[in-house]
């Protein structure tokens, strides 16, 4: 019996935090690739400490719904899941290349496949592009548009910037958007000066965050100038200094994220059958023709 466990941060304050986790779990359940799909959280229940004991299967894949390798994926999750003998060297990663480690979880005395975070997977690039399609409601968006991929900078986690750059570079290589830039909240180039970094009249701004919350709903909209105060709200697109900014909100809310979760598990050896194709198809943006 094959089980998928999606682990995410969650929140004591914000119900939106766990919403994408539940949504992607539901998409994967519907695709039928796993006998069971469970969710576990750092700030909600079941907690990381107790989620594995709710799992029935013997072939267990744990996928962190986090944007980068760092404190949570390297320290907190392995510790709380009680992965025996975990060391970050198990992933042998340059900050972007964590794939999986197979370790015994002491809590259930059984092996689990602990996967790298969704945010650094190559398939995440497609989710960012899909997010741009969603927010513009245009399955072919690109021509005449700039794309800003935004994240924390290195102040919180040096790998955070690596993940942003990685995806921005990959999207740029596709020559789909007129310009692609990686921007940061706490280092140069800063998202606050977004119009200065783009020549295009239209720019899609995609924050590399898992869930909507303080950063994506208050911080970034105010910093970019979409609104004076987040309680006022803003339009999509909103014009700032002559640039039309299409603010996408957290990329993690995009339905195609379920595909990255599946990819992570598949890379770790899970048999996901045709689920990858199913999820890519069912989460597609309507083309309108």
């Amino acid at each position: 019996m094959q089980s998928l466990v999606i682990v995410a941060h969650g929140s004591h304050l914000n119900p939106e935090s766990s919403a994408p986790t539940y949504d992607h779990a539901d998409t994967i359940r519907a695709a039928g690739a796993f006998d069971e799909v469970r969710t576990g959280f750092w700030k909600e229940e079941p907690h990381f400490r107790e989620v594995l004991r709710t799992v029935e299967g013997s072939e267990i894949y744990v996928v962190p719904l986090f944007v980068s390798e760092g404190y949570f994926t390297e320290q907190v999750i392995p510790r709380e899941l009680r992965l025996n003998g975990w060391d970050v060297s198990e992933w042998d990663s340059d900050g972007l290349s964590a794939d999986q480690a197979t370790l015994v979880a002491e809590d259930i005395d059984s092996e689990v496949h602990y996967c790298g975070p969704v945010g650094t997977h190559r398939a995440m690039t497609d989710v960012i592009v899909r997010r741009a399609e969603s927010v513009t409601n245009d399955a072919d968006v690109g021509d005449g548009f700039g794309l800003a991929v935004v994240g924390h900078g290195t102040e919180r986690n040096e790998n955070s910037a690596k993940a942003i750059e990685y995806h921005a570079d990959r999207i740029a290589e596709r020559d789909r958007f007129d310009e692609v830039k990686a921007l940061y909240m706490d280092e140069e180039p800063e998202v606050d000066d977004l119009p200065e970094h783009f020549e295009s009249d239209d720019v899609v701004l995609v924050p590399l965050f898992i869930a909507d919350g303080y950063h994506t709903q208050e911080d970034i909209p105010e910093d970019v100038g979409l609104c004076e105060d987040h309680t006022e709200g803003y339009d999509v697109p909103e014009t700032v200094d002559g640039t039309r900014i299409w603010y996408a909100g957290a990329v993690g809310t995009e339905p195609l994220m379920a595909d990255v979760v599946l990819e992570r598990a598949a890379d770790a050896g899970a048999d996901v059958g045709g689920a990858l194709d199913d999820v890519r198809e069912t989460t597609r943006v309507a083309t309108g023709d």
Partner: protein, 409 residues
């Protein structure tokens, strides 16, 4: 109907139907073909002569002509042993014999084939009808009346169909006796996620086991697996921990160990334990873990040797370590409790002192919404409190006009 005519009130399995002298009234149960097919499959998987056990009898394939060569039939025939002489019979005869014993056969089918082996789910569903303590006849009679169980704020009513299938009605205990059509009815256990997110005032519930579950909904007709999933969704991991506790395997992690493990912004919490006793943890438990705040029964203590002075509560399911809400609050208290007390001097009338106490009590007990707008007898009444503020606060919001930091004077 299970929902409107419950048979028992106490939540103990097996009480129903035992009232009269003739013993419990066993409901009529037919043998469904899926249960019969499952019996045939199970026998096929066994060697001739190897019995399949039901309550009160067993069935095996015959051994005539095999190494065992016992009387009663060939491997294509079946031998039913029920006290008397085993008799060989055809598949058709076996169906008749099992149909006569449909309660025992359907009971086997429910637990061995529908519920399955997974420990927490199996233990929970057997506990609901006391399957390890009561006979099939007693349970079926009780299920026909409806067996009620409490789990946190949930009321679970188990019933049985005329095919021996278990059906469960799950709702808030406050909605006991309310007709299903007056509640919002759900089928998919995962829909329970929507029901647990906000309390009845629409406030986000950060702790699923807080006694703030809103009512007004019902899962009127769940099967065994979906019942387990609904309970797991409403009170995550509580069944797994309860099961471990019943097996004598609950892994309790006490306060000290939990705080020692913390890192990042929570690493500071370990500094709150200064080897000067554990009164601060008593206060935490009194603040956060009391039954009025969380339905889990706290099993963790200060450390392996040192119990807290506060009662752990009466919950059905255990709490095995300080939760993330407690750890987060403890981080705040670690900072606040590092401050040194100071002496502030300002005057209060006796009634004002009592009013401050009333306000603290009202907030701590979550009573402020119950205090009526014009009820000025209540110290925590809004007008009374606004009057106190108008009288005692200066323009900077300092109580008694005394600055919090003496250097500000």
């Amino acid at each position: 109907m299970a929902d409107s005519t419950p048979g028992t009130d106490g939540g103990e399995a097996g009480e129903a139907g035992e009232a009269d002298d003739d013993g419990p009234e066993l409901p009529d149960v037919d043998l469904p073909s899926d249960a019969f097919d499952a019996v045939l499959d199970a026998l096929d998987d066994r060697d001739p002569g190897e019995p399949l056990q039901f309550e009160g009898f067993s069935v095996a394939r015959g051994t005539k002509g095999t190494d065992e060569d016992l009387p009663g039939g060939t491997p294509d025939e079946y031998v039913l042993a029920a006290g008397g002489r085993p008799t060989g019979m055809s598949e058709r005869d076996l169906h008749g014999a099992l149909a006569e014993r449909a309660p025992a056969v359907t009971d086997w089918y429910v637990f061995e084939r529908v519920v399955g082996e997974f420990g927490p789910r199996r233990a929970f569903l057997r506990w609901i009808e006391d399957a390890d303590g009561e006979t099939v006849a007693t349970r079926y009679a009780a299920l026909a009346e409806g067996i009620e169980r409490a789990w946190g704020e949930l009321k679970i009513t188990a019933t049985i169909t005329d095919r021996g299938e278990r059906r469960y009605d799950v709702r808030h205990a406050d909605d006991a006796g309310v007709p299903v059509d007056e509640l919002d009815a759900y089928e998919d256990p995962l829909d329970a996620r929507e029901l647990v997110t906000f309390d009845e005032k629409g406030r986000y519930r950060p702790l699923k086991t807080a006694p703030s579950l809103a009512g007004g909904w019902v899962f009127p007709d769940l099967g065994p697996r979906d019942l387990y999933e609904a309970v797991e969704t409403i009170y995550p991991a509580t069944v797994a921990n309860w099961h471990r506790e019943r097996e004598g395997e609950l892994d309790v992690t006490h306060w000290r160990e939990t705080m020692e493990r913390q890192s990042g912004i929570y690493g500071v919490v370990k500094t709150w334990d200064r080897g000067e006793g554990n009164e601060h943890v008593d206060w935490v438990a009194e603040a956060c873990c009391d039954d009025s705040q969380c339905l889990k029964r706290r099993e963790w203590e200060y450390d392996e040797e040192t119990d807290l002075d506060v009662d752990g509560g009466d919950g059905v399911f255990p709490c095995r370590e300080p939760c993330s809400v407690v750890v987060s609050a403890a981080r705040k208290w670690t900072r606040l409790e590092s401050e040194q007390p100071r002496t502030y001097e300002f005057e209060l009338t006796p009634s004002e002192k009592e009013q401050v106490e009333d306000i603290i009590d009202a907030v701590a007990d979550g009573r402020i919404d119950e205090i009526r707008e014009a009820d000025t007898k209540e110290g925590a009444n809004r007008y009374r409190t606004r009057f106190l503020r108008a009288k005692l606060f200066d323009d900077e919001g300092n109580l008694g006009g005394v600055p919090t930091d003496p250097d500000e004077e």
